[in-house]
Amino acid sequence: MRAPTGSANEPLLRIEDLHVEFRTGGGTVEALNAVDLWIDAGETVAVVGESGSGKSVTALAVLGLLGNGRVSGGRITWDGKDITGASNSDMRSVRGKDISVIFQDPMTSLDPLFTIGHQLVEAYRIHHDVSKRQARERAVELLDLVGIPEPETKVKAYPHQLSGGQRQRVMIAGALACDPRLLIADEPTTALDVTVEAQVLALIRDLQERTGVGLMLITHDMGVVAEMADRVVVFYAGQVVEAGTADEILDRPQHPYTRALLDAIPRRDTPRDQEMPAIPGAVPALNEMPSGCRFATRCSEAGPECAEPQPLRDLDGRQVRCWRPDEDHGVLASMAEVAR
C-alpha cells in the first residue's frame, strides 16, 4: 500500500531509496542505504531501530543538516517538490516553517546565553515579518501552549533555570512557533525521567490533535510506538527492514529483526531469574556491510539465500526486506503472546 506517486493524495513527505554517506578520516562510510518512507499530513509515523541504525541521519537528511555528510542517492520530496540536495538558502525556508525538529537532549539543545523568550522570538521572526513585541506575545502564547506555568515571567528565564522537562517543552514550543506541517521528534524523551517522559509524550499527542501536524517520531521504545504511532518503519543498519501499520507490525512482525526487537522488551511478568532476551552479536560496522541481508549474521533463521541482496518487498500492505517473511511465525508469536 505504497502511497501512489504524483496523484492527488501525494504524501507530505516522501523519501525514496535514500542513500547518505559521511566523509571520515578513513574514507567515506554509508550511513543510509536505500531508505524508503513516507508521511501523510497529520499522521504519526514511528521510526524505530537501534542506535546507529540511521534514524536520526534520516531526519537530518530531510532538513539538509547533514554537516559533513551528503545525500549520495535517492530522492526526498516535500509536498510534491523535490528537495533532494536543495541549497542551504532554499532549505532555510523549509526548516522551522514546514518541517520542525525536537532534538534528543533538551539540556544542550537551547542556547545557554539567551533567554528562552529571545529564542522563541527569534524562531518566530525567522519566518514572520513582525515586530519584536508581537513576536514576544507569540512566545508567551507558545509557552502557555506547551504547559509552562506563568509564561509571562518564564519568557525571561535562561535555559539553565529550567528543568529538563521544561526545557523540552520549550524546545517543542520553538519547533511549533511557525505552525509547521511536519514535526520530527528525535527521541524526544530519551534524556528525561520516566514520569516527565509520559507528560511530554502526552503533550506532543495533544498538540498534534489540536494543530493537525504530521509527526515523525524517532524512538527505540516499543511502548511509545504502541501508544503513539499510526504506522511504523523499522530501521536496521541504515536500511528500512520493515514498514507497515502499527497494529500489523506490533502484532504480526514479519522480519526476524522486528520480531527479535519485540521479544527483547522486558515484561513485568517475566520471572526475575530469567535472563533478558537479547539479539546475539552486534550490528556490522558501516564499512563492513555484507552485500546480502545485513541482519543475517545475527538471524536465527538465516539460510544460504540471505547472502543475496534483499530488496524491500511489498507484502499485502506492508514492506519487508526478507526473502521469507514468515507469516506463520508471526501468528504463532502473537498467539504465544495471547497465551501469556
Binding site: 532549505m91 523549509v94 532534538f103 539543545s109 545557554p112 546565553l113 527569534e122 525567522i126 535562561y158
Partner: protein
Amino acid sequence: MLLYAGRRLTYGLLVLALVAVLVFLIIRLIPGDVVRLQLADAPGVTQAQIDQRTAELGLDEPILTQFGHFVGGLLHGDLGTSFEDGRPVTTKILERLPATLELGLLAILFGVLLGVPFGMLSAIRHHSITDNVMRFLAVIGMSLPNFWLALLLITFLALWFGWSPPLVYVSPTEDLGQNLVHMLLPAIALGAATMASIARMLRSSLLEVLGSNFIRTIRSRGASERVVVLKHAGRSSMIPVFTVLGLQVGHILGGTVILERIFAIPGMGSLIFEAVGQRDYPVILGCVIFYGAIFILVNVVVDLLYAVIDPRIRYEGATA
C-alpha cells in the same frame, strides 16, 4: 552578580599586594648600588659623601623600615620620589603614561581587528587552504619575539621601500598623523602575538560551538548562517577569546619595555628601562606596581565580562 564582582576585585587587590611585596624584595637583589652609580664619575668622592647620599635616599635604614615607609606611602597613593631627580614617581609615571597607553591600545586594536576575522574565517572554512595558511601564520605570529619582529620590520621596510620610521616622538595632540606613523610599527610588532593568539583561540572555540546541539537547533529553525555564526556561535566562543586577551595585555605591557626603547617612545616602558639602569628603586617599584595594577584590573574586567556574556556565571552567586 555583585557578590561575584566583589570577590573578583578582592582577589585582584590581594594579588596586587603580593606583587608589591615581591617586587620590593626582588629589586634589592639586583647587584649594583644607586649611590655608587650616581657618584661613580665624580672625582675624589669620599666615603663621607657616599654615606651622606645613602642617608638622603633613606637606604641606610633597615630594610623592614624602608618597607614600612614604602607601604605607608602606597596606602596614601604616594609612590615616593625618584632617586634620580627627586621628583615624585607618580608625576613621572603620569608624564609617560599617555604614550604607553596609546601604544598598548593600538597593539590590542591591531590584534583584535585582525585576529577576530582571521579566526572566524579559519573556523568557517576549516581545513581549507585559507585555514591552513592562517594557522601557519598564527603559529609564526605567536613564536616570533616582538622585538625581533620589530627589527625585521624596520630592516625589510628599509631594504625594500627605502622607508624607515621616524624616531622622534610626536604627541598625538600635536600631530596625530605623524604620531601614528611613528606608532604603527611598534604597535604591529607588539600586537602580532595578540592577533595570532586570538585567531587561534577563536578558531578552536568557534569550531567547538558550531558543532554543538544548540547550534543545530537554531539551524533547524531556518536561521541564516550570519545569525548562527555571528550571533549565537560568536557569543558563545567569546569567553575564551576574552581570557586570551586578558593574558595578552600582560605580554603587551612587558613588550613596551623593549619596543619603546627600540622606537624611542617616551613611555612607561622606557621609564622602567632607564630606572633599572639607574637602580632607581622607587621608580622601578612604582612602574611595576602600576603595570601590575593595569594587568589585574584588565583581568578583573575580563572576569566581569564573562558574567555579562554568560547568565550561568551571572547567577552563580545567587544559587550558591
